[in-house]
């Protein structure tokens, strides 16, 4: 089903006209209201009226995640605080989180986008949505929640955790749509199985999974085990949240971008040059309708490519290929974004630990695990086991507190961390080896 026939099946030419009109408006708005953008545009000698075609987007400056951090917390907002009705934030150490704000209309638009996503996945008003994305500052929970309500479906705001209870409610309530990270879907399946519940026998028929990378092999596995159609959803809090793009259940080849709300580009992550259709590069989004915190050419660091061909499902919107990688060192652990530099900051703030560390990411029982190996030095060394164990748990606690991710800390001998050409190898991601 197509939720918004007008916008999702608009002839390309008409869609581009709409995009241009909205782009001109957003550039004028940020030029007026966001000092950061005014300065950037002035530096380049660009005035809002210079935007005469969609190609002119290349005149605009990029926005990086760091820009949001530099203007922490509300410095990039384009409206006064009274017009913001909700705040979301991505994880980060103190002062380094990226904070986004939504106006009433932003929330309404976002709900519409997610409703479109539900419809594309095959859900209708009669469906029953078990929403196991975390509720809170993270955009996943509330984002999917609003969309399900906008669609008119019944939503169970179960949030994350308490997996055995979730399995029980999944059976007792008879939900038909499951929304969570793909790894959590597998975890939930395993937990249900242990309790003697076969998910395949339940009314569940659709899974909408996102917030972490997954492969077609994993999709096939989930679909087979849970007896459902598994759909990929894409989004990031800086741009909006989940629902920026969605696969259609009919074709499942690429995610339809909500192009009336976002202008997507693919660029070369090294040079910033625009790449042609079909070429792989970094995804960049300009928000076309967002009021709270409009962003020009936001660099997602996600690698993908665009397909402009109309889809068999009837949608005319561009499709982005499933994200294949990152152009930076960000890790996604159980749906939480983690930068090695954040771990480094936490270690330094924990008793001045040495900056020699290594992150081992793995997947056990379909759940991501993070091990933080830290080289021990004389400053923190003790002759007593309890002191070293206390140090380990302190690090674990700080990582959990600041980044919201559970990690296991392991102290290692100096030089215990593999170095290649003098440079420490910071990340070992064993998940990739397992997927291959």
């Amino acid at each position: 089903m197509i939720f918004d026939v007008e916008h999702e099946t608009m002839p390309r030419e008409e869609l581009e006209k709409l995009q241009l009109r909205r782009l001109q408006t957003v550039v004028a708005r940020v030029y007026e209201n966001v000092p950061f953008y005014r300065k950037k545009l002035d530096e380049r000698g660009v005035k809002p009226e210079h935007i005469q075609s969609l190609a002119d987007v290349a005149l605009l400056p990029f926005t990086e995640k760091q820009d949001l951090r530099n203007h922490y917390p509300f410095g990039m907002f384009a409206v006064s605080r009274e017009n913001i009705v909700r705040i979301h934030s991505s994880s980060g150490t103190t002062g380094k989180a990226t904070v986004v704000g939504y106006t009433k209309r932003d929330i309404k638009n976002w709900g519409q986008m997610v409703a479109r996503a539900f419809a594309a996945a095959g859900a209708t008003t009669g469906d029953f949505v078990h929403n196991a994305y975390g509720y809170g500052l993270f955009t996943g929970g509330l984002g999917l929640h609003n969309g399900a309500e906008e669609l008119g479906a019944t939503v169970i705001p179960i949030s994350g955790g308490g997996t055995r209870r979730q399995a029980m409610l999944l059976r007792d309530f008879g939900a038909t749509v499951l929304t969570c990270t793909p790894s959590y879907a597998m975890h939930l399946y395993e937990a249900a199985k242990e309790m003697g519940i076969d998910v395949k026998e339940l009314p569940l028929r659709i899974g909408i999974f996102g917030a972490e990378p997954w492969t077609d092999a994993m999709r096939a596995d989930i679909e087979e085990k849970l007896g459902i159609t598994a759909i990929d959803i894409y989004g990031l809090s800086e741009v909006m949240g989940p629902g920026v793009a969605i696969e259609c259940a009919l074709v499942k080849k690429g995610l339809h971008i909500q192009e009336d709300h976002f202008l997507a580009e693919i660029i070369d992550p090294e040079t910033g040059e625009k790449k042609g259709p079909g070429e792989v590069g970094e995804l960049v989004f300009t928000t076309l309708t967002k009021e709270g915190i409009p962003l020009l050419r936001y660099r997602t660091r996600d690698l993908s490519r665009l397909n402009l061909a109309p889809c068999r499902c009837g949608r005319t919107t561009a499709r982005m290929e499933r994200v294949t990688g990152r152009s930076d060192d960000m890790l996604i652990i159980r749906g939480v974004n983690v930068f090695p530099s954040q771990i480094e900051t936490i270690l330094l703030e924990t008793d001045g630990l040495s900056p020699h560390y290594q992150l081992i990411v793995d997947r056990e029982n379909n759940l991501d695990t993070l091990e933080v190996r830290v080289e021990i030095d004389e400053q923190v060394f003790s002759d007593q086991i309890k002191n070293l164990q206390r140090l380990e748990s302190k690090i674990q606690k700080n990582i959990k507190e600041f980044l919201g991710v559970t990690a296991k800390c392991k102290l290692v001998e100096p030089k215990g961390i593999e170095r290649s050409e003098g440079k420490a190898k910071r990340i070992i991601d064993l998940r990739k080896a397992k997927q291959a």
Binding site: I376, F381, S382, D383, Q384, Q389, K410, L411, E413, P414
Partner: protein
């Protein structure tokens, strides 16, 4: 009255202990006493050696994290209740024993026990007041 103990951080994997003994052997440092505390991931090796400074320097050069801890070597009468009377004394004074281990050699008719106290100076004072013999480091290293 105090004794210098070497503490060495060891990852819990094959060959790490042998690496320590290799370095000490090549440096001609003799091990007078040792104890190993372990967890599933790592261990702490505690050593009393014939030449503390040399051992520390060589182990550090070998890439180990080493610490110096002050411990006390106490002569314990080698008969039933010998250790108990000392521990009882410490208990009454509310001095905590973090860990302890026995010295290999006897001192005359006495066993020698290495103590790590939470309050080292108070412990020494208490033991001396009760006429317990404390073996000084210089003597211990050569025993």
């Amino acid at each position: 009255m105090k004794v210098d103990q070497l503490s060495i951080f060891l990852e819990n994997r094959a060959g790490r202990l042998a690496e320590v003994t290799r370095i000490l052997s090549e440096s001609e440092v003799n091990i007078r006493a040792l104890s190993l505390a372990d967890t599933s991931d790592f261990g702490i090796l505690r050593l009393i050696v014939s030449d503390f400074e040399k051992a520390k320097e060589k182990l550090k050069a070998g890439g180990f994290t080493v610490g110096r801890t002050t411990v006390v070597a106490v002569e314990v009468p080698d008969h039933p209740g010998g250790l108990h009377s000392i521990l009882e004394m410490l208990r009454a004074a509310k001095i905590n024993v973090e860990y302890m281990y026995a010295f290999v050699q006897q001192s005359g008719s006495h066993a020698v026990i290495i103590f790590r106290f939470d309050r080292t100076d108070q412990a020494i004072e208490l033991l001396q007041k009760n006429s317990i013999v404390i073996v000084p480091g210089e003597k211990l290293y050569k025993m």
